[in-house]
Assembly symmetry: C2
Homo-oligomer: 347 residues x 2
Amino acid sequence: MAKSSEPKRKKRNGGTTTSRMRDVARKAGVSVMTVSRALNDPDKVSKEMRLRVRAVVDEIGYVPNRLARSLSSNRSNVIGLIVPSIRNSLFAETIKGISDVLSVNGYHLMIADSGPGLYEEEEAITAFVQQRVAGLVLHNTSHTAAAVDMIAKAKIPVIENGNLTSRPLDSVVSYSNYEASRAMTLHLARMGYKQIAFVSLVRRENDRARERLRGYLAALDELGRKPDDALVLERPSGFSAGAEAVVHLVETVPQVDAIFFAGDVLAVGAVLECQRRGWAVPGRIALASFDDLDMLRHVNPPLTTIRLPRYEIGRRSAECLLDRISGRATERISLDLKFEIIQRESA
Amino acid sequence: MAKSSEPKRKKRNGGTTTSRMRDVARKAGVSVMTVSRALNDPDKVSKEMRLRVRAVVDEIGYVPNRLARSLSSNRSNVIGLIVPSIRNSLFAETIKGISDVLSVNGYHLMIADSGPGLYEEEEAITAFVQQRVAGLVLHNTSHTAAAVDMIAKAKIPVIENGNLTSRPLDSVVSYSNYEASRAMTLHLARMGYKQIAFVSLVRRENDRARERLRGYLAALDELGRKPDDALVLERPSGFSAGAEAVVHLVETVPQVDAIFFAGDVLAVGAVLECQRRGWAVPGRIALASFDDLDMLRHVNPPLTTIRLPRYEIGRRSAECLLDRISGRATERISLDLKFEIIQRESA
DNA sequence: ATTTGTTATGTTACGCGTAACATGGATCGC
DNA sequence: GCGATCCATGTTACGCGTAACATAACAAAT
């Protein structure tokens, strides 16, 4: 029989309050510890006790406080994800992959949109460390020094998944942007295209975009071709930018016979523009894309592209993170989920 | 001078540990309360104290523990969002809107993908209540009884934003799916189309889809036209479904002269299919869509559609939620952000 | 000089749980 | 029959902060 010198609660805004584990304990006539065990570690209490506690929980509608649990046990069930742009539909698959794994395991996902900047990413990381997330998934593979420090000090497991970087912060689950870009360039060359243009995304603060350009240039080099500045553009993501780029290239460099768009939806914008102008694809100009967006298969002609295992990246990232968190795995890993060239009619 | 009968820490896994406010306090030779104030309420401490504390914080790399803060102050800085499908790009804008507002205000976003089911939504809500989120944003406007109870008991402010429901749980920030659908149907009729087909999304457990169908039927009624079962289809979201639907309608109901696709990307799939088949749009068949996806403007011909204020819905939802949380606003609101019919060439 | 504030800081008591250890009784071995 | 074990439950001491109240020091008011 506990003495239960009930502490009066602190402040608490208004009238009724959420019920606490203590309320359940009192009502069931047991200690809070027993309630805690009945809910979280049912094997440690007798069957009738389990039922008694459960009954009270249902009766008063007790909802356990995870914040308190996390604080006390020094273990959180939240994973933080930072993406450069939540608007970009390409992240949706990865998020879904992460989310699916987490929810089965009782974890939750917190998402921050950092924008393209490294400093903003640092701010998002700070926020997550403050929330004491159990793990982090970052899309970027370059970070501010302060961010790196903070993560190291907090000893939070991290998965990077935007690029198969050779110097990961911790573990990496991704594919090689360099290799994918190189492979597509070689593929186009093998198909007989002689003047392959490359439309990059904005490379500033975007290591993925830089890697893709590097892959393209490496391929040209292997082919014994000289890179031509006029054949390399840099454009922001978007349909309009793609449309504008194809027009620009065809009109200023007439000998161009293929364009490899190394980023989102640019190629779709381009193919639609060709359609409008009556330019045959691939007759006049061949087009290739870098992504596995559903849309690419449906435009006319369907676009040759690189399929990236986005869902799988999310899934494996989350699994890997949970393994690290639970201690099932202690080693850093570098997981290459590869890519696949999808040959369609546009090139 | 505090006596500081230092408690030995509980368990804590391994060697080094994250630093605590107490460590900062000791090093600065002050009480933890002073540190807390220096960090969270700088005006309450002297300038030199502020600097001294800040210096120690930087020196030892102290990162405040938000979990502890939330637990102690009984106030969380996390908002929960539940969407039926994170994959659906239409949520991206809304998420961005929410996220933008939250981050300026020091709040964070936790996202759950509930899938289409109501029970899954309830589970997500439970999880969020357990995390003691400060507020909730739900896309669904119908919920299980248990979910409604739980939210009421927890007294968490909620914004629903998938439809301007007349019986909101709490507040609602949205547009009327019914009115939008009705308006487009009337618009098509005004343009002279006589046989307007309607392609719905799957209506089961989707009140938005049901409202849209209701709007279509209401418009027909106003026009004195009889609904024709052959002109109403139900399809899952996707390009292929749209393509299939247009073919099905044109081939089985030859007199159809317009199709209103009341859901995502269906219309895009349809217009691309028409292109492939050489069906003139709108000559043979007019097409209209329900959404403001960027893509719709770029296909050939550009699609007539309904622009929905998705970003704005996110922004206003978050603002409204923060107002409620901070106590700046106490009343439930119902905010209609309207919609706009965008007349393009497809109808 | 005494009262009354004001400002800067400290002290105490929680928030709501869990880890670690303690305890009382039933069970087991020989 | 008696210590060793096990099982179910209780007790205590935190996790890491903040609210509320207390106090010291010094300024302003009467």
